[in-house]
Every structure is written in C-alpha cells, then in structure tokens.
Subunit: 339 residues, 2 copies
C-alpha cells in the first residue's frame, strides 16, 4: 500500500468523470462541534395506514394501490418530467434552454413498510432487480427516452419523504450531466484500447486487493479509488455488460447478493439504518452503439463518524471540489470487517 496516500493531502482522479477529489487524511482527527442528525429508532409497523406506498392504501391523487405482494411500480404523482409537456428551445444570446420530456416512476421494493433492502434476502432483492430490468426495457423501447436513471434515496437525511422501502426511476430525452461525463470517458478509453475502462480498472483492483469489500462469481463490491463520500462503494459486474438486461442465468441473484451484502454491512457500521443515495449508471437507450459502457451501481452515504454525524459537502466542496477526510482504503477496511 502507498503510505503517502494515508498520510498527506492529495487529490485522486475519477477516471469515469475526469474530475478530482481532494483527500485530507490527517483531518479525520478534527473534533466535531456542528450539527448532529437525529436518529429515529422507532420500529415501523409492517403496514402503516397513513403511508401512501403501502399496499391497498390511497395515494394523494386518489388512486388506490393494489394489494401487491412483492414489487409495485407506478408513475410518480409529482413527476419532475412528463411526456405531454411542450417541446421548445431557447437560443437567445447567452441564454440557452431546451424543453425536456420524460417519465418518472416510483418502485416499492416490498409491501412490508418496516423493511429496507438490508432486511431483505437476495431472493427478494432479485425481484426488485427483475422490476428494474422490465422498466429499463420498456423505457428503452420508448422513442422519447434516451436515458434511464434508476436510483434510491434512503433515509430522511437524504431527502426521502417516506420510509417505506422504495426507489425511483427518472427517464428522459437527453443525457444528464453525470452520464455525459461517464459516456465521454468510457468512449475515449474504448476507442483507444478496444476494452472497457471499468473492466480494466476492475482487473487492477482485484490484483491489488486494497479496496475490495466483497466479491462473488459475477460481481465485485469495492470502494473506488476516487470515492467522494466517506463510505462510498460501487458494485461492478465482472463481465463487460452495457446494461442490466445483460445479466445472465444466476447473475441477477448474485447481484441481489452483492446489494444485500453491502447494505447489511452499512447498517452494522454505525448500528443504524444507514442512509444513502444509490444509483445505477448504465448505457443510454438512445439507439447508438454504446459498447463502451460498463454498467455499475454506486452508493453515496453521507455518514462520516457515527449515526448522527455526517459529512457536509458545502462551501469548499461546492466552489472547489469534493473533499474527504478518511481514505478509501481505511473506509474499505472498516466495511470489510463487517461482512
């Protein structure tokens, strides 16, 4: 292990986005006198009559949820993107705008209000994965949709307005900023090397074994070299796959196992239902040749020191670049011990 990286301030390159993260290892010793998050230790009931995501309940728009048994998907009642909105363009000197259309969906992971992915068996998570695949396929077939963003905001501190286990899918006409960046860097590498960037990165990581938390036959769970969030992790398929539709035979269950393993470790870390935003970056659905894409799922959890002390990405991070205190290697070791 390169010990300089554990001792001195440095920046690391994110090869997928081309951006840098500032790492200040010595700063982990800083005392914390700022805001503490409140932790809710309430145990939730399996069914909450006031929850608009529970089976059989009525949503805000008056629709009644079916008595679903595993996964339930519906179109977001307050969708940020719509299919029937007007198409227009503004090119007025230095003012540029473009209409954006899309479809936003909500996906309930389980009818059980009390659960999270960390409480679900790989077999149950596999049903969520099947739903993601079905939605991705259906949206990919829609001419209006060129990109599908699957994500989850978990925990009140991540802006999640309902503790019922659920995620979202926002799909749209154009590629969002983060996807544009990853598209470009993966393409550059692929054109030069005729191989997947993430595939080659994975080989290097599997060799070094410094940032690997877990692996099974099809997946690796690791802390990326360029991780921004204190306990950020990434699930990467070992085979070069463009999107989640390429999962073969038992790979969906192995993906479920990877998700189960990392979310369980997270919950153990600070003995709390660990908040995070997670998301799957995969090939656009724009009908172009996307052979350069290697899909992956990332977890961005905000907690830094305990269930109540999070990392704030504020002033310097907003105006300069992301900054972290504990290194990727230390974070990896802490998570690995919990598996």
């Amino acid at each position: 292990m390169n010990t300089d990286l554990q001792d001195y301030s440095h920046k690391r390159l994110n090869i997928l986005t081309g951006e840098w993260v500032l790492v200040s290892p010595h700063r982990a010793k800083r005392p914390w006198q700022g805001q503490n998050e409140s932790v809710s230790n309430e145990t939730r009931p399996s069914h909450d009559p006031n929850c608009y995501l529970c089976a059989g309940n009525t949503r805000i728009n008056g629709e009644i949820n079916p008595k679903y048994k595993d996964v339930f998907v519906f179109t977001n009642d307050f969708a940020a993107l719509q299919t029937n909105s007007k198409v227009f363009k503004v090119e007025d000197g230095l003012l540029s705008a473009q209409s954006e259309q899309g479809i936003c969906k909500v996906i309930c992971f389980s009818p059980d209000h009390s659960k999270s992915l960390a409480d679900m068996a790989p077999k149950e998570i596999e049903k969520v994965i099947f739903a993601w695949q079905q939605e991705y396929k259906e949206l990919a077939d829609n001419d209006l949709i060129n990109y599908v963003q699957i994500f989850e905001n978990k925990g009140a501190v991540m802006g999640c307005s309902n503790p019922h286990p659920h995620g979202q899918i926002w799909s749209q006409t154009s590629l969002p900023n983060e996807v544009e960046k990853k598209d470009k860097h993966q393409l550059d590498y692929y054109l030069k090397n005729k191989k997947s960037l993430l595939g080659d990165y994975l080989k290097q990581e599997l060799n070094k074994k410094e940032r690997i938390i877990f692996e099974n036959d099809a997946f690796v769970v690791l802390v990326p070299y360029w991780a921004i969030w204190p306990f950020e992790t990434m699930i990467v398929p070992k085979r070069h796959q463009l999107n989640i539709l390429e999962l073969k035979e038992n790979e969906s269950l192995l993906f479920g196992e990877a998700i189960s393993t990392i979310t369980k470790a997270y919950d153990k870390l600070f003995k709390t239902s660990f908040p995070y935003s997670s998301g799957i970056h995969q090939a656009p659905t724009n009908g172009e040749d996307n052979s350069h894409w290697h899909w992956h799922m990332s977890f961005y959890p905000p907690l830094l020191r305990s269930a109540t002390v999070k990392k704030f990405m504020v002033g310097y991070e907003m105006f300069g670049s992301p900054q972290r205190d504990i290194t990727a290697e230390i974070a990896c070791n802490k998570l690995k011990e919990l598996i």
Copy 2:
C-alpha cells in the same frame, strides 16, 4: 418573459461550467412529507466564553485569540491543506493521484458573536472585503499557491460548526474542478470574442430585467439564468475585473452594500437567519494571463419553502444533474420584493 419556461420541464445551460440544470416548474406544487430542519431561534450573546472564535478566547490548540476589534484572520487549526506535506505523484495504471499543498485560513467577520453579515452595515462588511483582498494578495504572492477560494458556510444545515460570524479561505497548488470548468469556458469565450463572458451576460440581463434583484453603480445582484439552488444568487461587478484586488475607490463599499442587501433580503424571506454557502470565484494566482476571468460571488442557499424545508440534492441530482422546482424568475421576484 418566455412563459414556456414557467410552465414546462426544461434544462438550462450554465455558460460558466457548461453543465445543465433540470427545471420542473410544475413540481413546486408537490406536498412535503420529508425531513424538517430545526430552526434555532435562540438569540446569541455578543460574547460566548465557550466560542473558540470570540475575541480573547482560547482555541482548541491552546492559542489565545487577540482582543480583535473588527476582522481577525488565522490559519485553520485543522487545515485540509498544509504547506509542509510531502510532494508525490501516483501514476499506476488507472490509478492517478497527486499530492496537494495549500494554506487554509479562518476569517472572523466581527468580534460580535451574535451577528451575521446580514446584521452588519456595508461599512463593516467593507472591512471583511479589505481582509479578503489582503489575504488574496498575500497568498497570490506565495509561489506554492495557484488558486485562492474564499467562502462561507453559514448555518448548521450547511455544516457550519460554529455560529460565530466567520468564513474560510482555502488556497492551493492546483485549480479545483469547478474553477477548471469556469476557467475553460471563460477562456473559450474570451479568445473568440475578446470580451468577458460574464460582462456580455450581464449586458443581456440588464436589458431583460427579469432576473435582476438589485444594482448599484458598480455591482449587479441577480439570479443567474442557470441557478441550481432555489434562491441562488450571484453578485457580479459591472466592470470587467479579474479579481477583487481590482476594486477601485468606492467600489469596495458598493460591494459591501451588495452583500448587505442580498443577505438582509434572505433573512426576511423565511423570517430566519438564512443558511447558505457563499464563495468568490476569481482569477487563479498562477502567474498566467487570466484576462478572461471576471470575478463574481455566488450564494447557494438550501432553503426551498420555509425556514425548515430545504431542497435535497440527492439521488437524481447526484447521478443525473441538479434539479430545481421554482424557476429563477419566480425566485428573483420573491427576493426583489424584500429589498
């Protein structure tokens, strides 16, 4: 005014960074059931014996603050960047890292523990501006320092660990991500047009008058067309200036007036001491020709609907692109009414 922008989902281009923000105007009607921030309505004493920033008090490292009368600057006791750290480079296959050196300072805006910039007169804020100038100049003269980031995190919700009115200055060897982007886009425009990008943008905004909150002889306060945060604003000097050292005669007082005006309006908006991160982007101090730079100060406040409901930049925003509900024009009108 283009009414499509007020009615339909669209994206707008940030001409300084080249990135897009997704705007979903219809979504402002969404009910909020998520986390509420707590508001502290405690009135603070003018001197707090336990505050490590108050005059005459002892800091964590044992140093005693002078009995300062207006502004007080010192080197951060837990600096993320240091001058005496090791210089090294990692180029190992797909792993890239580089040591980063720098100097981090804390700047107390006033000895009065109970105040914020919004409670200070333009003349008092001018003293803060003089201190920023002096620090910028001193750091610019340091060969190690190629960029100086002045910023403030205000409020517990912005990760500020001490309510004493203060900001920070992080300066370093390389240009952080956000500065790189703005450097590139300003340079491209300058090479093509021999004029400042922000200067031309300002002309267009002053013409349209749709996003201008306030102006005086030297400054404009506006909501940028591409604002991300609900009530994001930008203070821009009317003259093309590379950095804050170029302020002439009475311009520093006029800058103080601009800061005073917008921070006072913020406090009135939700009847609370308005949290934000603010920062000044200005020419790097790398000794190169930076004629393309036009410095500006931005405010990124998180509150959306009230003193307790903020906008969460989470799942979609982290994996896709920033997203906002109320438009820049509506936000501008609300702030303008409070001046």
